[in-house]
Subunit: 138 residues, 2 copies
């Protein structure tokens, strides 16, 4: 049974906010995660495509996450500045997905801009071919 999601209104720093967002993704609290992004959020997978708006983000993420039986996003480094009105967070991650009984992994550097208390921009830098190959060998 998944752990219950935790309220986000106690969070005062953009770094902690992004950490909570990722925890929600990992723990399959998808609705709670999407509550943390703005309605007009820009979601940019740099080498693939960018979309605008929470609905488009939900479409992309829900399809992909639904194919994974487990999700682990390991944060190797995370740095941030600003506050919940306007903050910038960058992290270095390995995003891992268990699919069909095998783990696939992708090395990523991500940028998150927090604006007016929500994630307004999420931009992930990675190598498209590494991602395609990882998916193909799952």
């Amino acid at each position: 049974m998944p752990v219950h999601s935790i309220a986000t209104n106690d969070i005062t720093s953009p770094g902690d906010y992004v950490t909570r967002f990722i925890e929600n993704i990992e723990q399959s609290h998808f609705t709670a995660a999407m509550d943390m992004v703005s309605d007009d959020c820009e979601y940019d997978n740099v080498p693939i495509t960018k979309v605008f708006g929470k609905e488009a983000m939900i479409q992309i993420l829900s399809d992909f996450l639904a194919a994974a039986t487990k999700v682990e996003w390991l944060i190797h480094h995370q740095v941030s500045n600003g506050d919940m009105e306007h903050g910038v967070v960058m992290n270095e991650r390995t995003d891992r997905f268990e699919m069909d009984g095998r783990w696939i992994e992708l090395d990523i550097a991500g940028l998150f801009v927090v604006s007016n208390g929500k994630i307004a921009l999420w931009r992930d830098y990675f190598d498209r071919e590494s991602f395609t190959k990882a998916l193909a060998t799952k």
Copy 2:
């Protein structure tokens, strides 16, 4: 005539240190830039290869930079924590190189770890194919 490089011993924050490092690269102060990295620095172009040691870094960078008549690395966002003893800096950049009269561009997210007053790790995340194509169309 290139601007003279500026002393780095007045810098007290890892973010400013990385900014100065990039300015040195842009202004063709290559030796000054390399003075800012540790002898055993890890230099990791994630989708291509990583090398260890300043000499290997110099080999890769000097060959590439020598092919460019101008270099501009635009920093869109940069965040950092820690101090000059141990600090972490991440930035989102567009690295631009003028080659054969044309500008080629690459979108990058970079991680720099400053340790004991020098850059000890520099890791750039980008899409390899985008880089290859940009070089091919120069």
